[in-house]
Symmetry: D2
Subunit: 153 residues, 4 copies
């Protein structure tokens, strides 16, 4: 267990995967009795945000200090099985690659050993003024630290 540590919000970073727990509340479900499809993207963003925070990067500070945000440029989701009220899910996040102004992320939402939803996200570095922006060095270095770990898997 060489590279495991827990983080402020119950997340766990281990070998290039950030595993973050999410509980399903009424707000997340719909009258079909399952989690509403768009809400899995909320779970995924909470996990990305906490992964970044566990590495010392906060969304608000990125806006204020660097004038940028990591915006979702493209996303895909494959919904295999539904989650339900009171379920305790995990979101497992892995950085697949880092480009000049973008990051590719894979996120698997599971209930116990069962994968429910797989999400693939391309984040783009955007200037708060509008339009794409070069990724700040400190952000790139932070992301590469995790990305390397994940490739050792």
């Amino acid at each position: 267990m060489p590279d495991v540590h827990s983080t402020s919000d119950n997340g766990l970073l281990a070998d290039g995967r950030y595993v973050f727990p999410v509980r399903v509340y009424y707000e997340d479900t719909d009258s079909g009795g399952v989690v509403y499809y768009a809400n899995y993207f909320k779970f995924a963003e909470r996990a990305r945000t906490e992964m970044m925070r566990s590495l010392g990067v906060e969304s608000q500070k990125l806006m204020t200090d660097d004038g940028i945000a990591l915006a979702v440029r493209h996303c895909e989701a494959d919904f295999r099985k539904p989650a339900r009220l009171d379920d305790l899910l995990t979101v497992s996040t892995r950085i697949l690659g880092i480009g000049g102004a973008s990051v590719d992320v894979e996120q698997i939402i599971a209930s116990g050993e069962t994968n429910l939803v797989t999400i693939n996200i391309k984040l783009a570095c955007m200037s708060m003024a509008g339009g794409p922006a070069r990724m700040p060095d400190h952000l790139r270095e932070t992301l590469e630290r995790i990305c390397d770990n994940s490739q050792q898997d």
Copy 2:
């Protein structure tokens, strides 16, 4: 029918009441089979926004031109009966009073002739810089135009 006209988003302003239709979608419901309680406040805000728009006042322009927003300072809701998927609701909005920097609003959400939820809202005029702000004259005059109508009822 002296004071009735339809508005851009299907709303209808008549004798001091602005009646706005809202359809219930999966996103609004929860696994109890009914509309999630906090979502009635979304319906209410859509109706307030369209009432203002029908009077020529847009939220974004209030921020940009006047540097203010009408923020919710207090709200109450009485939930009598639930709304369900596919229901076509109406939100009936009435301005009860206008203070120096605040507005009191009553909103009744109904399905046909049945009142489901009654919401009372106190809006406060807030500076975008933070803190309370005096209400711009054009906004006060616009609101008083409706408030007078409602008191004739």
Copy 3:
């Protein structure tokens, strides 16, 4: 204008495309000043629901009468430009193909002539008891009526 008619919720069905208006409210935006990425999927579902309703198919009745729901099995979204508070958007929905138990849908969210977000959805016919279900004939025939139209484009 051979095949155009307006529908109950301001949508317009024309030559295999269902065009549905959506207004952006505070609830849809985030502190980045734009529409939150997952919320475009809500807009898309409203449009799919109204397209179906304009064809006589209601979600609640599908559940009650046929014991099925059209669930999202896969989705993709390409976010090109952001929508903002007060924007009046259109969602243009087109059925690309119909399988044994699934439907492929393309949805383009635009502001005026500018395409903001393109969404591709695969819907699967699901039994309310869980698991896939064969599509009821009346549903298939209804969908094929639109799908044919769209292929004439």
Copy 4:
């Protein structure tokens, strides 16, 4: 520290108050730069749900085993100061009273020592078949255990 124990979801039950942490994500904010007003009710419900879970009561089991749900019958909120992106809030929940088929709850949402929002909720015991229901004994006894504690304060 006579009656303090931590719970599964980071909540802490102490002397009749259940204190539950909530992090603010993009999904919770709006383009005014603050948490959208209706979303504080989501935070409040998460805290109520976790308080109940820490006492052994789960929403899904209440529905399945007892055929009831605790529905919000009335709510009030006083919004004093706004929360913002990345804020780590606490929701402090206290049961004020228990009636024949209802429960009165006070919830204070704070950032550090600063109270932002105070919410008062009346929950009603509802039959899943519709209409009010008598509160199951096990639920009443559980709630009274906390309510007693809170009155010792």
